[in-house]
Symmetry: C2
Amino acid sequence: MTHVILFRLARREDLPAIVRMLADDDLGSQRERSVEPLPESYYTAFEQIERDSNHDLIVAELNGEVIGTLHLMFLPSISFQGGLRAQVESVRVDKMCQGQGIGSDMMRWAIERAKNRGAHVVQLTTHMSREDAHRFYERLEFKGTHLGMKLSLK
Amino acid sequence: MTHVILFRLARREDLPAIVRMLADDDLGSQRERSVEPLPESYYTAFEQIERDSNHDLIVAELNGEVIGTLHLMFLPSISFQGGLRAQVESVRVDKMCQGQGIGSDMMRWAIERAKNRGAHVVQLTTHMSREDAHRFYERLEFKGTHLGMKLSLK
Protein backbone atom coordinates (compact mmCIF):
# COMPACT_ATOMS: atom_id res chain seq x y z
CA MET A 1 0.00 0.00 0.00
CA THR A 2 1.35 3.39 -0.97
CA HIS A 3 0.93 6.29 1.40
CA VAL A 4 0.60 9.61 -0.32
CA ILE A 5 1.87 12.59 1.62
CA LEU A 6 0.18 15.87 0.85
CA PHE A 7 2.11 19.13 1.36
CA ARG A 8 -0.03 22.25 1.70
CA LEU A 9 -0.37 25.58 3.49
CA ALA A 10 -1.42 25.21 7.13
CA ARG A 11 -4.95 26.05 8.22
CA ARG A 12 -5.96 27.44 11.59
CA GLU A 13 -7.23 24.05 12.72
CA ASP A 14 -3.78 22.53 12.12
CA LEU A 15 -2.21 24.64 14.86
CA PRO A 16 -2.56 22.16 17.77
CA ALA A 17 -0.76 19.48 15.71
CA ILE A 18 1.94 21.95 14.67
CA VAL A 19 2.56 23.10 18.24
CA ARG A 20 2.59 19.50 19.47
CA MET A 21 5.45 18.74 17.05
CA LEU A 22 7.33 21.94 17.97
CA ALA A 23 7.08 20.98 21.66
CA ASP A 24 8.13 17.37 21.14
CA ASP A 25 11.89 17.57 21.62
CA ASP A 26 14.43 18.65 24.24
CA LEU A 27 14.73 22.24 23.10
CA GLY A 28 11.11 22.73 22.11
CA SER A 29 9.62 21.32 25.30
CA GLN A 30 11.22 24.16 27.26
CA ARG A 31 9.61 26.92 25.25
CA GLU A 32 6.25 25.78 23.88
CA ARG A 33 2.89 25.22 25.57
CA SER A 34 1.12 22.40 23.79
CA VAL A 35 -2.08 22.52 25.85
CA GLU A 36 -5.80 22.50 25.13
CA PRO A 37 -6.87 25.17 24.34
CA LEU A 38 -3.67 26.60 22.88
CA PRO A 39 -2.51 29.98 24.23
CA GLU A 40 -4.02 32.75 22.12
CA SER A 41 -0.53 33.99 21.14
CA TYR A 42 -0.20 31.03 18.76
CA TYR A 43 -3.37 32.05 16.92
CA THR A 44 -2.29 35.70 16.75
CA ALA A 45 1.00 34.66 15.16
CA PHE A 46 -0.82 32.31 12.78
CA GLU A 47 -3.03 35.16 11.57
CA GLN A 48 0.01 37.39 10.91
CA ILE A 49 1.70 34.61 8.96
CA GLU A 50 -1.45 33.73 7.00
CA ARG A 51 -2.02 37.26 5.74
CA ASP A 52 1.61 37.92 4.78
CA SER A 53 2.42 36.69 1.28
CA ASN A 54 6.10 36.42 2.27
CA HIS A 55 5.28 33.68 4.80
CA ASP A 56 4.18 30.12 4.04
CA LEU A 57 3.47 27.90 7.02
CA ILE A 58 3.55 24.40 5.52
CA VAL A 59 2.23 21.09 6.78
CA ALA A 60 2.62 17.51 5.59
CA GLU A 61 -0.55 15.46 5.80
CA LEU A 62 -0.87 11.67 5.79
CA ASN A 63 -4.31 10.05 5.83
CA GLY A 64 -5.86 13.27 7.08
CA GLU A 65 -3.33 13.69 9.92
CA VAL A 66 -0.77 16.50 10.13
CA ILE A 67 2.59 14.77 10.56
CA GLY A 68 5.10 17.44 9.52
CA THR A 69 5.58 21.18 9.39
CA LEU A 70 7.98 23.89 8.33
CA HIS A 71 7.84 27.66 8.05
CA LEU A 72 9.09 28.99 4.71
CA MET A 73 9.65 32.73 4.50
CA PHE A 74 10.78 35.05 1.75
CA LEU A 75 13.06 37.94 2.66
CA PRO A 76 13.57 40.81 0.23
CA SER A 77 17.12 42.09 0.53
CA ILE A 78 19.38 44.76 -0.92
CA SER A 79 22.35 42.39 -0.95
CA PHE A 80 22.94 40.03 -3.88
CA GLN A 81 21.78 42.82 -6.20
CA GLY A 82 18.41 43.05 -4.54
CA GLY A 83 18.06 39.27 -4.42
CA LEU A 84 15.23 37.42 -2.69
CA ARG A 85 16.26 35.04 0.11
CA ALA A 86 14.19 32.11 1.28
CA GLN A 87 14.52 31.04 4.89
CA VAL A 88 13.26 27.91 6.60
CA GLU A 89 12.42 27.77 10.31
CA SER A 90 10.70 25.31 12.64
CA VAL A 91 11.11 22.09 10.65
CA ARG A 92 9.52 19.11 12.37
CA VAL A 93 8.30 15.62 11.53
CA ASP A 94 6.13 13.65 13.96
CA LYS A 95 8.35 11.20 15.87
CA MET A 96 6.06 8.32 14.83
CA CYS A 97 6.80 9.08 11.17
CA GLN A 98 10.54 9.82 11.22
CA GLY A 99 13.10 7.84 9.22
CA GLN A 100 10.82 7.44 6.19
CA GLY A 101 12.09 10.34 4.10
CA ILE A 102 9.10 12.57 4.86
CA GLY A 103 11.29 15.42 6.13
CA SER A 104 13.45 15.27 2.98
CA ASP A 105 10.40 15.27 0.73
CA MET A 106 8.93 18.19 2.64
CA MET A 107 12.20 20.15 2.36
CA ARG A 108 12.49 19.37 -1.37
CA TRP A 109 8.94 20.62 -1.82
CA ALA A 110 9.82 23.83 0.01
CA ILE A 111 13.05 24.27 -1.99
CA GLU A 112 11.07 23.91 -5.23
CA ARG A 113 8.62 26.52 -3.96
CA ALA A 114 11.53 28.87 -3.20
CA LYS A 115 12.96 28.32 -6.71
CA ASN A 116 9.61 29.05 -8.33
CA ARG A 117 9.38 32.28 -6.38
CA GLY A 118 12.82 33.33 -7.68
CA ALA A 119 14.84 33.06 -4.46
CA HIS A 120 18.59 32.81 -4.97
CA VAL A 121 19.25 30.95 -1.73
CA VAL A 122 17.50 28.92 0.95
CA GLN A 123 18.99 29.58 4.37
CA LEU A 124 18.37 28.11 7.80
CA THR A 125 20.06 27.66 11.13
CA THR A 126 20.09 24.61 13.37
CA HIS A 127 21.33 24.36 16.92
CA MET A 128 24.98 23.24 17.11
CA SER A 129 23.82 20.28 19.23
CA ARG A 130 21.52 18.89 16.51
CA GLU A 131 24.16 16.90 14.64
CA ASP A 132 21.59 14.64 13.02
CA ALA A 133 19.92 17.75 11.59
CA HIS A 134 23.25 18.95 10.17
CA ARG A 135 23.68 15.64 8.32
CA PHE A 136 20.06 15.77 7.17
CA TYR A 137 20.55 19.20 5.57
CA GLU A 138 23.95 18.26 4.14
CA ARG A 139 22.27 15.37 2.30
CA LEU A 140 19.97 18.02 0.80
CA GLU A 141 23.15 19.86 -0.32
CA PHE A 142 23.05 22.64 2.24
CA LYS A 143 26.51 23.88 3.26
CA GLY A 144 27.27 24.89 6.85
CA THR A 145 29.18 28.04 5.93
CA HIS A 146 27.88 30.39 8.64
CA LEU A 147 27.81 30.85 12.37
CA GLY A 148 24.30 31.49 13.65
CA MET A 149 24.27 33.93 16.58
CA LYS A 150 21.39 34.84 18.86
CA LEU A 151 20.78 37.51 21.45
CA SER A 152 17.91 36.68 23.77
CA LEU A 153 15.85 39.74 24.72
CA LYS A 154 13.78 38.10 27.47
CA MET B 1 34.57 68.32 18.42
CA THR B 2 31.86 65.74 18.89
CA HIS B 3 30.50 63.92 15.88
CA VAL B 4 26.88 62.99 16.21
CA ILE B 5 25.83 59.87 14.35
CA LEU B 6 22.21 59.78 13.25
CA PHE B 7 20.48 56.41 12.81
CA ARG B 8 17.39 56.44 10.62
CA LEU B 9 15.41 54.49 8.02
CA ALA B 10 17.07 54.50 4.60
CA ARG B 11 15.72 56.61 1.76
CA ARG B 12 15.83 55.75 -1.92
CA GLU B 13 18.68 58.20 -2.49
CA ASP B 14 20.82 56.34 0.09
CA LEU B 15 20.96 53.21 -2.07
CA PRO B 16 24.22 53.95 -3.93
CA ALA B 17 26.04 54.45 -0.60
CA ILE B 18 24.47 51.29 0.84
CA VAL B 19 25.45 49.18 -2.17
CA ARG B 20 28.96 50.64 -2.15
CA MET B 21 29.41 49.43 1.44
CA LEU B 22 27.90 45.99 0.66
CA ALA B 23 30.34 45.63 -2.26
CA ASP B 24 33.38 46.78 -0.30
CA ASP B 25 34.75 43.50 1.02
CA ASP B 26 35.99 40.14 -0.25
CA LEU B 27 32.66 38.36 -0.17
CA GLY B 28 30.54 41.34 -1.22
CA SER B 29 32.68 42.36 -4.17
CA GLN B 30 31.89 39.04 -5.86
CA ARG B 31 28.14 39.50 -5.76
CA GLU B 32 27.24 43.20 -5.88
CA ARG B 33 27.33 45.74 -8.72
CA SER B 34 28.16 49.11 -7.26
CA VAL B 35 27.95 51.06 -10.54
CA GLU B 36 26.33 54.28 -11.70
CA PRO B 37 23.43 54.00 -12.32
CA LEU B 38 22.68 51.10 -9.99
CA PRO B 39 20.99 48.05 -11.52
CA GLU B 40 17.22 48.46 -11.28
CA SER B 41 16.96 45.27 -9.17
CA TYR B 42 18.34 47.21 -6.17
CA TYR B 43 15.53 49.76 -6.43
CA THR B 44 12.88 47.08 -6.84
CA ALA B 45 14.10 45.39 -3.64
CA PHE B 46 14.23 48.75 -1.86
CA GLU B 47 10.58 49.42 -2.72
CA GLN B 48 9.52 46.01 -1.37
CA ILE B 49 11.43 46.62 1.85
CA GLU B 50 10.11 50.16 2.24
CA ARG B 51 6.45 49.19 2.00
CA ASP B 52 6.73 46.19 4.35
CA SER B 53 6.35 47.17 8.01
CA ASN B 54 8.31 44.04 9.00
CA HIS B 55 11.44 45.40 7.29
CA ASP B 56 13.59 48.32 8.41
CA LEU B 57 16.53 49.20 6.23
CA ILE B 58 18.71 51.35 8.51
CA VAL B 59 21.51 53.77 7.79
CA ALA B 60 23.99 55.61 9.99
CA GLU B 61 24.64 59.17 8.89
CA LEU B 62 27.60 61.37 9.84
CA ASN B 63 27.76 64.97 8.63
CA GLY B 64 25.20 64.23 5.92
CA GLU B 65 27.08 61.15 4.64
CA VAL B 66 25.78 57.59 4.90
CA ILE B 67 28.55 55.62 6.62
CA GLY B 68 26.77 52.53 7.93
CA THR B 69 23.85 50.25 7.18
CA LEU B 70 21.97 47.22 8.42
CA HIS B 71 18.75 45.48 7.53
CA LEU B 72 16.51 44.73 10.51
CA MET B 73 13.58 42.44 9.88
CA PHE B 74 10.78 41.13 12.04
CA LEU B 75 9.67 37.53 11.55
CA PRO B 76 6.38 36.34 12.98
CA SER B 77 6.73 32.73 14.05
CA ILE B 78 4.64 29.93 15.57
CA SER B 79 7.57 28.75 17.70
CA PHE B 80 8.29 30.33 21.09
CA GLN B 81 4.53 30.52 21.69
CA GLY B 82 3.96 32.63 18.62
CA GLY B 83 6.96 34.82 19.44
CA LEU B 84 8.29 37.55 17.18
CA ARG B 85 11.90 37.16 16.02
CA ALA B 86 14.11 39.99 14.90
CA GLN B 87 16.82 39.26 12.35
CA VAL B 88 19.72 41.38 11.23
CA GLU B 89 21.32 41.08 7.79
CA SER B 90 23.83 43.06 5.73
CA VAL B 91 25.61 44.96 8.49
CA ARG B 92 28.30 47.28 7.16
CA VAL B 93 30.30 50.30 8.28
CA ASP B 94 32.29 52.36 5.79
CA LYS B 95 35.97 51.29 5.95
CA MET B 96 36.98 54.90 6.55
CA CYS B 97 34.90 54.96 9.74
CA GLN B 98 35.62 51.55 11.27
CA GLY B 99 37.15 51.05 14.71
CA GLN B 100 35.26 53.97 16.28
CA GLY B 101 32.35 52.06 17.78
CA ILE B 102 29.88 53.11 15.10
CA GLY B 103 28.94 49.53 14.27
CA SER B 104 28.30 48.74 17.96
CA ASP B 105 26.18 51.86 18.38
CA MET B 106 24.19 51.00 15.25
CA MET B 107 23.63 47.43 16.48
CA ARG B 108 22.59 48.66 19.93
CA TRP B 109 20.13 51.03 18.28
CA ALA B 110 18.69 48.14 16.25
CA ILE B 111 18.52 45.88 19.33
CA GLU B 112 16.58 48.58 21.18
CA ARG B 113 14.22 48.88 18.21
CA ALA B 114 13.68 45.10 18.29
CA LYS B 115 12.96 45.21 22.04
CA ASN B 116 10.45 48.00 21.60
CA ARG B 117 8.68 45.98 18.94
CA GLY B 118 8.38 43.03 21.36
CA ALA B 119 10.84 40.62 19.71
CA HIS B 120 12.12 37.84 22.00
CA VAL B 121 15.37 37.34 20.14
CA VAL B 122 17.68 39.04 17.66
CA GLN B 123 19.29 36.54 15.32
CA LEU B 124 21.89 36.81 12.60
CA THR B 125 24.44 34.72 10.77
CA THR B 126 27.96 35.61 9.78
CA HIS B 127 30.29 33.72 7.50
CA MET B 128 32.55 31.29 9.39
CA SER B 129 35.55 33.14 7.92
CA ARG B 130 34.58 36.51 9.48
CA GLU B 131 36.21 35.92 12.87
CA ASP B 132 36.39 39.62 13.63
CA ALA B 133 32.62 39.78 13.15
CA HIS B 134 32.13 36.87 15.57
CA ARG B 135 34.08 38.75 18.25
CA PHE B 136 32.16 41.96 17.46
CA TYR B 137 28.80 40.25 18.03
CA GLU B 138 30.07 38.39 21.11
CA ARG B 139 30.94 41.76 22.66
CA LEU B 140 27.29 42.69 22.08
CA GLU B 141 26.37 39.48 23.99
CA PHE B 142 25.30 37.41 21.01
CA LYS B 143 25.97 33.67 21.45
CA GLY B 144 27.12 31.52 18.53
CA THR B 145 24.80 28.62 19.31
CA HIS B 146 23.74 27.69 15.78
CA LEU B 147 25.12 26.44 12.50
CA GLY B 148 23.99 28.59 9.58
CA MET B 149 23.40 26.54 6.44
CA LYS B 150 22.75 27.75 2.91
CA LEU B 151 21.62 26.14 -0.30
CA SER B 152 22.40 28.21 -3.37
CA LEU B 153 19.66 28.03 -6.00
CA LYS B 154 21.57 29.74 -8.81
